[in-house]
């Protein structure tokens, strides 16, 4: 758990946005780390949706309420405002239709929490600018031809999409390469340049 935790600082940021005993749907719940963290620390009523069958079976064997499904196709079955929070952590960039997925999150949850890797980070820009190659970094370890991440965006892109969908950004956090939060007073361009990951709390 500790190894994963170090890699997924964003989970703690996400957890910090969710009050105790909330109803939470974790879309792309993976190995169930966030749900377990939230159940242990916040006594939430948590559900998971995960693409990988193996991940699902392991979650269920550990007592988590998780189903196999695809964020691109299976969110339509959830009722409007069925959850206090719908979380999409590090999954948006792997969906086929991020706009539709985000729209569904805002429909299903009173609030949506979205975290994603920022493609506007200076290392990414440097790789493209200097080497002329698609970036392969510690956090984005895939080559262009085998990456599951088919829809990268920058923090600026994401803010624009939120505006398009009529979502209000209630809170936003950018994490630098060391997992440290970037100061709130900094402007968007600064976040977009130095933020390696971003976590947004949205409402519509």
């Amino acid at each position: 758990m500790s190894v994963n935790r170090a890699q997924r600082v964003d989970l703690e940021v996400v957890a910090g946005l969710i009050p105790a005993r909330s109803r939470v749907l974790d879309v792309g719940s993976g190995d169930g780390l966030l749900l377990e963290l939230l159940q242990a620390t916040k006594q939430i009523d948590g559900r998971g949706l995960e693409l990988s069958q193996r991940g699902v079976n392991e979650c269920v064997a550990r007592g988590l309420s998780v189903i196999q499904g695809d964020a691109d196709t299976d969110l339509e079955f959830y009722p409007d405002k069925g959850f206090d929070f719908v979380v999409l952590s590090q999954t948006l960039q792997a969906t086929r239709n991020p706009k539709l997925v985000l729209d569904e999150l805002l429909r299903i949850g009173n609030r949506a929490i979205v975290s994603f890797p920022n493609f506007g980070h200076w290392r990414v820009r440097l790789s493209l600018f200097v080497k002329g190659r698609m970036p392969v970094t510690k956090d984005l370890p895939y080559s262009w031809y085998d990456t599951p991440n088919i829809h990268f965006c920058t923090i600026r892109d994401f803010v624009n999409l939120c505006e398009e969908l009529g979502a209000t950004v209630e809170r936003a956090t950018a994490l630098d390469a060391n997992g440290q939060k970037i100061g709130l007073s900094m402007p968007w361009w600064f976040w977009n340049f130095f933020g390696q990951q971003a976590v947004f709390l949205l409402k519509r």
Binding site: V56, A61, I67, Q68, F77
Partner: protein, 389 residues
């Protein structure tokens, strides 16, 4: 084991070795067919002890040709209980911790009222005079058994295949009586293909001259050939092409070469014949007709205006569904449509699809991932219910 024949399939019909709950004229059962069944009886087995709060009861629902002997030796076949690998002292469903109830379904042939039972009006077996029994009728009868034990809310209802249909019916019609539900390898309705297979089986039974319009006991006969063929056809649907090929391939049965005749040259033929023959020793042919019909009639969405989610509206029950990749009788999509309906109803639901080539029957086998899922689900439900470990 000696089986009396011809005559009744076994001695477990009117006066079974299992405990029996009898309902007299004061407690008739209103059937979906529109008639009242009275008197009637339910044969059952229990394992473990009901706690003082009556909060640790698990109801197991058996499949088409199953029975109440889920974790104890079957008196007809002498074989171990059909889910003994899962249920018993120290097992995943630990009978030191839980009170497990399993009853023979209404329409069955191991002690609950069914077509082989004596019709008190005539003194002869019901035969086809028994009204058609539905899955909901079975569940209504189970509810009367649960009430008999004074259990307000079952901790869990679980079962596979036809048992899974009963679980869904329980969770839909009596959701406030069910804390958690575990339907395995099942569907919210019987598909056209499944009805078709059942019809083949029924026609095989009814085409047997020994069936005598269902009155075979009165003729001192039993439609063994027809029932055996029905079982053979059905048995194929419980397996998978891959598993059949793995187990039997084109291997020959006790011979070096093809005989150029219609003997059981192939192992698979011999295997199916054996399955058919052993089945007729333990199962009543008319009961087989009634059981298959009950599954055919099951359509939970149709009972709720065509929208499956409405069958679960407002449910507080925790669900876990399980399907198997090679199950072509109840393919994963059947479970997935239930999951979607439960999502729409805002229910708490887990769903596990298990990768196996063992087909529909995988739910009866020691499948490690199935047991792990049941263990995880039961464990977390028990914590939520406040049951001590």
């Amino acid at each position: 084991m000696a089986v009396p024949r011809p005559g009744r399939t076994n001695s477990e019909i009117d006066a079974p070795s299992s405990p029996v709950l009898r309902f007299g004229a004061d407690k008739p059962l209103k059937l979906d067919a529109g008639t009242l069944l009275s008197p009637f009886q339910i044969a059952y087995q229990t394992y473990g002890t009901l706690n003082d709060a009556r909060s640790n009861a698990i109801l197991v629902c058996h499949a088409l040709t199953g029975d109440q002997h889920v974790a104890s030796t079957n008196p007809v076949t002498g074989k171990p209980g059909w889910w003994e690998a899962l249920i018993g002292p120290g097992r995943i469903i630990d009978t030191n911790r839980f009170f497990v109830i399993c009853s023979n379904v209404l329409g069955g042939c191991l002690g609950s009222t069914g077509p082989a039972s004596t019709n008190p009006a005539t003194g002869k077996p019901y035969g086809l005079d028994l009204p058609i029994i539905t899955i909901r009728d079975m569940v209504r009868a189970q509810l009367m058994l649960v009430d008999h034990f004074g259990i307000e809310k079952l901790f869990c209802v679980l079962g596979g295949s036809m048992g899974g249909m009963q679980v869904l019916e329980w969770a839909s019609t009596y959701t406030e009586r069910v804390f958690s539900a575990l339907p395995i390898a099942t569907g919210a309705r019987h598909s056209s293909q499944n009805i078709a297979f059942h019809e083949v089986g029924r026609q095989a039974v009814m085409a047997d001259p020994d069936w005598h319009g269902g009155k075979y006991f009165e003729h001192g006969k039993r439609p063994e050939k027809g029932l055996a063929v029905a079982r053979m056809a059905a048995h194929i649907t419980y397996l998978s092409e891959a598993a059949l090929h793995r187990k039997f391939g084109r291997n020959l049965q006790d011979r070096e070469a093809l005989t150029f005749g219609f003997d059981a040259d192939f192992q698979i033929e011999s295997y199916l014949r054996h399955q058919g023959m052993t089945f007729v020793d333990r199962f009543d042919a008319n009961s087989y007709l009634y059981m298959t019909r009950s599954m055919d009639y099951f359509d939970l969405a149709a009972d709720h205006g065509g929208r499956l989610a409405d069958a679960f509206a407002g449910t507080k029950t925790r669900f876990c569904l399980v399907s198997f990749t090679s199950d072509w009788l109840f393919p994963t999509e059947e479970s997935r449509s239930i999951v979607h309906a439960l999502n729409a109803a805002g229910a708490s639901v887990s769903f596990v699809e298990i990768d196996t080539d063992r087909g529909h029957d995988a739910f009866l086998l020691e499948e490690p991932e199935l047991f792990a899922a049941i263990n995880g689900f039961i464990g977390s439900a028990a914590r939520a219910r406040g049951l001590s470990a």
